[in-house]
Symmetry: C2
Subunit: 345 residues, 2 copies
Amino acid sequence: MSLTPAVPDGKRPTLADVAARAGVSTALVSIVMRDAKGAGAATRERVLQAAREIGYRPDARARLLRSRRSRLIGVQFGLQHPFHADLVEGVYAAAEAAGYQIALSAVTAGRSEQRAVETLLADRCEALILLGPQAPAARLAELAGQLPVVSVARRLRPSGSGPEVVRTADDEGARQAVDHLVGLGHRDVVHVDGGRAPGAAGRRRGYRTAMNRHGLGAHLRVMPGGPTEEAGAAAARALVTAGPRPTAVLAFNDRCASGVLDVFLRAGVAVPGDVSVVGFDDSRLARLAHIGLTTVGQDVARLARLAVGRAVARVEGGAASGGTGAVEDVVPPRLVVRGTTAPPR
Amino acid sequence: MSLTPAVPDGKRPTLADVAARAGVSTALVSIVMRDAKGAGAATRERVLQAAREIGYRPDARARLLRSRRSRLIGVQFGLQHPFHADLVEGVYAAAEAAGYQIALSAVTAGRSEQRAVETLLADRCEALILLGPQAPAARLAELAGQLPVVSVARRLRPSGSGPEVVRTADDEGARQAVDHLVGLGHRDVVHVDGGRAPGAAGRRRGYRTAMNRHGLGAHLRVMPGGPTEEAGAAAARALVTAGPRPTAVLAFNDRCASGVLDVFLRAGVAVPGDVSVVGFDDSRLARLAHIGLTTVGQDVARLARLAVGRAVARVEGGAASGGTGAVEDVVPPRLVVRGTTAPPR
DNA sequence: TCTAGTCGCTAGAACGTTCCAGTCATGCCG
DNA sequence: CGGCATGACTGGAACGTTCTAGCGACTAGA
């Protein structure tokens, strides 16, 4: 009673092995394994039994090679970015529901986007989903000429031939945050921005227009930041040591907000007593009970579903659907009020 | 001058297309693409030129199907675990150096380890590297019977047939931390443990033996914790509200320590003034300038290198090398002293 | 001049699967 | 009983590579 595959030599069992054992043709085994119609109930059971006995496992490569469709979607993501992790999780779920497989390719310090995409292409993906891609727009457009490409969280100039885009309405999110703060009575609201990070421009714009709309143009103040804790901490240090302290801070994202929070706490600046802080993303970080960050939530599940949906539609609709309708899905954000915001002193 | 592939129908170009264009056989094109010897310099250039012109890109699936070797290592990792992200980064680098490819398969809330492993097996990986696997030892042993398996950061009873193990000396790390704290003059050192998380048992043991060795058995105190910020925060709250406050806390890992830090800061407990805090992992979190956590560093790059090395050795050495030598690599940790530890008041 | 070795290249058979076109019963309708 | 769907099943050709022979033409040593 061994659990190791019962095939003479060390090779892994194939369709032919199962077929031989069940006394049928390989074609029929293939039918059974794919759960396709064309096999009788009794034979089906017999084949499955044989497959189980010798520990047969279909070879994904061979399957993909033969069938025209690969039903494979390549996903490029930043390994160190928690927000991407959330997105990938959603993409897995959405793809599974649509009957597609996912091939992951990570971008790290030592592995460029270029390389990540190349491996995905070599794997015969039918479509690519790029999470927060940093590559030049021209490169992305070229890629989109070869296969359906969906850019998530990176805004691109809409064009008929370029990648499709799925993103959160960053400006709208920043507006909601500002409205919330102003509604609480704040006037000195500072924005620690995200620099060149995807989405940063939109959030900056949203902050500006919202402040102006409230007649607070004179209080406009954008501090250079970034998408990391360090960036937030640096900005907060500048606020603590120099310059007049605002009554509220809108950070580029949750990690940035976390850096701000930490420096404030260390400097004895009470949150939300002395200063209110708002983040962006509603990442796991923000939800942690002991942080309880007020933040602008992105609907990650929906972004993922839309991205997969667009990719699948393009793949199944062929090139024809490339030109139809909007090439951009914009998902509305939702302010999540937690414990880091309150009326000013 | 179009950038789209110059093949009549919409199909992606193959070896045959390149061969036709260059006026040679497909076998020769294969040789050239693989950079193998057996082709003249002039022809080589001509073939490459042709390939470039029609935008040829080798098909990884077909290649893998045909060649006996796949040179593919499957990696299972926890999508939400930053420490795994660091490891994966190292694994990518090590694998590349060894001439192997990596196939990633993530474990998430909605995607079990079982499923992750299944897709890797279907992809014909030659070996599996599992990061902090939670599956029962029996299941891992069964898997190891089918192909080389390396478990990283999860300790397993050494056996000739089970998975190989690469891990940090968790007990030794805890010991270093305790030595450091005791050396500073601390006696009331509490350990917030990791519960059932991989490595937790070793760190608990190291803490206990180190305390005893220093004659501080009476001060032994292990609080139930876990690998997340919430767990650390919960333990810290208990320390702040009830019971005598220790002068130092050794947390299971950096995330846990971060939760402890946050609660302490909020409660007005100065770190390291009132209490010293030590983490574990030396993750990006600990290195952040504004946190500056004293922590026990795991040599991630080395763990990754060893894991890949073991996998490759088993693959290339065949089953023969399965029985030889140790089946466990234990990497020594290194205490990284930063700003969260100081002599007690 | 004969061998033997190297070099550049090609034909054709794998690899493990799916797809297509059938074959052979069987059942049903008129 | 003829005709003709319908369903179960099979043979064999793909899919895009790599691998094993082996071929012809040189070179070089004896």
